[in-house]
Amino acid sequence: MGRKLLLEHINVPGINTFDVYRQQGGYRAVEKALKTLSPEAIVEEVKKSGLRGRGGAGFPTGMKWSFLAKPEGKARYLVCNADESEPGTFKDRYLMTYIPHLLIEGMIVSSFALGAAVSYIYVRGEMMPQIRILERAIAEAKNAGFLGKNILGSGYDLELYVQPGGGAYICGEETALIESLEGKRGNPRIKPPFPAISGLYGCPTVVNNVESIAAVVPIINDGGEEYAKVGIGRSTGTKLISAGGNLAKPGVYEIELGLPVEEFIYSEEYCGGIANGKRLKAVVAGGSSVPVLPANLILKTVNGEKRLMSYESLADGGFVSGSMMGSGGFIAFDEDQCMVRNTWNFSRFYHHESCGQCSPCREGTGWMEKVLHRIEYGHGKYSDIDLLVDVSRKIEGNTICPLGDAAAWPVASAIRHFRDEFEWHITHPAEAVKRNFGLAHYADPLPPVAEPA
């Protein structure tokens, strides 16, 4: 059994209530932080822990915190990004539903560390039940004296509010989230200035993912160094993985970073293999934006090493033969899934969710979707495949925010690894609408790398 730092008490009945959470040792981190630690010391602990942002980018959280500007007479804000909408990711919903106080506790400690007197949790509007749960949890914590004026007699005041979104994936981007929180359209801002200098209402702001903030709790309880002992290399600690798609036991799992992918998919402790006894065809390892990998490349790297669930190992091989940890949205495809159809589906998602502010993403995502739709429905041409690759390159890196990259990568990687399936759609249009291409040899082990003579 791997260590559980966030979901240790998830099966305790009533853990979503303040009393049970407290009995299980909850809010110890708040007591420790407010009574014995200085804000700088907390930032230092988080730095030591090596915690990396759990929202997708994997930027070290402690470093992000230390960038926060501290001008005199200006408020500072902490905003929690709970706008979870990356296809394949549902860990934050799970965490907020079943153990909301972990997030509240993390918010209190983090706000104290950053010197924020008001903090917001921006939850996507569709998660109205989770908004109600959080509001209830905040009221409970406030009742118990963990929020409001002079928390635990430390002289520190904090108000915590839940803000609903309105239905837009782009608001998961931190500057778009800030815009949305200011009551505007969720158009990402042009950086610089970064939120750490000028964010919410023009004040220095830190935006962190739900899981990152929750992870601050074990870091403070056990110390940063202790946290850094879990995991592997620069991928420290545990990570919530949202396992979905054709798995026998989909759900949210807390893993120690460094767990072999094969073990995660096939062991009974985690996903229990592929549903209905089928074979694995492909995996999207970190939410829909990261490159998709065929089964043989997700289980082992091109060098024949076991691929591990860690930031480094998943990225091994770059975009040629690797992928990314992303937000931990693990989507498994069985042998009967059509990669073209799925790529079209993802492409439609990005087309629908593009904010429309900058031209390559606004026009390019729609173009890619239309071409993919044509291929999937048997009207494609050979030149369409190269066209898609070219359009994706025109978008990638040329947009204001990473949504352009996120839209380009799945298309480019699907063509890179499953080009024969795209070609089959073009050469067999009638068959392609009736049946799937199948497994081909995507699941066969890779031939060993030949030694250069």
């Binding site: 173009w367 390159r393 040329n398």
Partner: protein, 334 residues
């Protein structure tokens, strides 16, 4: 003096005020080094960064931190640092990316230049001419919208819009209330008032001047003439609302339209009021200053007496000079 920072763009070094954008530094150099800008407008705060045509490569960040920037950056919204080195047309990567942006900007554009009043002074037309490819690879139906009259003076032809947001910033910053904005999302976004409303404001006509394409046009000039058949003349009048400094566009003795004076980058020098723009179209209303100088690169100048210069091939050939005699005489007479 020592406050100035040194920046090198395409190998040309220039000393500029710290804190200005790469684009504005390039504009101080001028010529081919200046990246095209479809959405940036120096007089509108917050504009820029959206169209991505002004992308450049920063090959050296600054003297202090010489690392290159990892991605191409929008030159209109990236500030210069001391010792920065920028590549614009000398970087194949930039040229390629810009070509891509132009292609993408055009996939949903109707390309109806033959019936568009903006043709001849359209930035998208220039951009496509300079950086576009001869054919599009887009084979789907283009996005269309209905034409809308916003009030009796301005027409909105959303199909042509490239969503530069300039008109929105103009309404926000130049006028005292904004009734139009960007509605919807993604490639379904549109400039609209949502419910039928007239844009009625002393300075609303400026949205026509800031529009880089033919999406917002002057209804009082609609289909009156092609811009390159009209002759621009600078004039002013004593206006209680604005500076009164305008360009009149003549066809024969008639003033067909009035616009703000546009500088070499196509930006209005000073915004003008609607009375000047729409309601004072008699020569007698104005004090004429003289012909407006139009860049040689513009199609407008092709028909413009002031810039009629014999081509090199004509200069050395007596026969051709004789053939063009009438043209030269007409030009000198003026």
């Amino acid at each position: 003096m020592s406050d100035k920072v040194k920046v090198t763009i395409d190998g040309i070094t220039v000393e500029v005020e710290p804190g200005i954008s790469i684009l504005n530094a390039a504009r101080q150099i001028g010529g081919d080094v200046v990246p095209p800008a479809m959405c940036y407008y120096s007089k509108l705060e917050g504009s820029g960064g959206k169209c991505r045509t002004c992308l450049v490569k920063v090959s050296k960040g600054s003297e202090k931190d010489p690392r290159p920037m990892p991605k191409l950056v929008a030159s209109c919204r990236t500030n210069v640092m001391d010792g920065m080195e920028v590549q614009n047309i000398t970087s194949p990567e930039v040229v390629e990316a810009r070509k891509g942006v132009v292609e993408i900007l055009l996939i949903n554009h109707p390309l109806d230049c033959p019936i568009c009043d903006q043709a001849g002074e359209c930035h998208l037309q220039d951009l496509a001419f300079e950086h576009g490819s001869e054919a599009t690879r887009y084979e789907f139906e283009r996005r269309t919208f209905d034409r809308i009259d916003i009030g009796d003076k301005i027409q909105l032809h959303m199909t042509r819009c490239i969503l530069c947001y300039r008109c929105v910033y103009t309404a926000d910053q130049i006028t005292n209330n904004r009734v139009h904005g960007v509605l919807g999302r993604g490639d379904a976004s549109e400039i609209s008032t949502y419910i039928e409303k007239a844009i009625d404001n002393d300075f609303s006509g400026n949205v026509i001047d800031v529009c880089p394409v033919g999406a917002l046009t002057d209804r009082t000039f609609r289909f009156k003439n092609r811009v390159w058949f009209t002759k621009p003349v600078d004039a002013h009048r004593d206006c209680p609302t604005c500076s009164g400094k305008v360009t009149l566009w003549y066809k024969g003795a008639d003033v067909l339209r009035v616009t703000a004076r546009k500088d070499q980058f196509g930006e209005a020098e000073e915004f003008i009021c609607n009375t000047c723009r729409f309601d004072t179209k008699q020569t007698g209303d104005w004090v004429i200053e003289g012909p407006r100088n139009i860049s040689n690169n513009s199609v407008i100048s092709a028909n413009h007496y002031e810039t009629l210069r014999p081509l090199p091939v004509v200069q050395n050939n007596a026969l051709l000079q004789e053939a063009n005699k009438e043209q030269f005489e007409r030009a000198t007479k003026f």
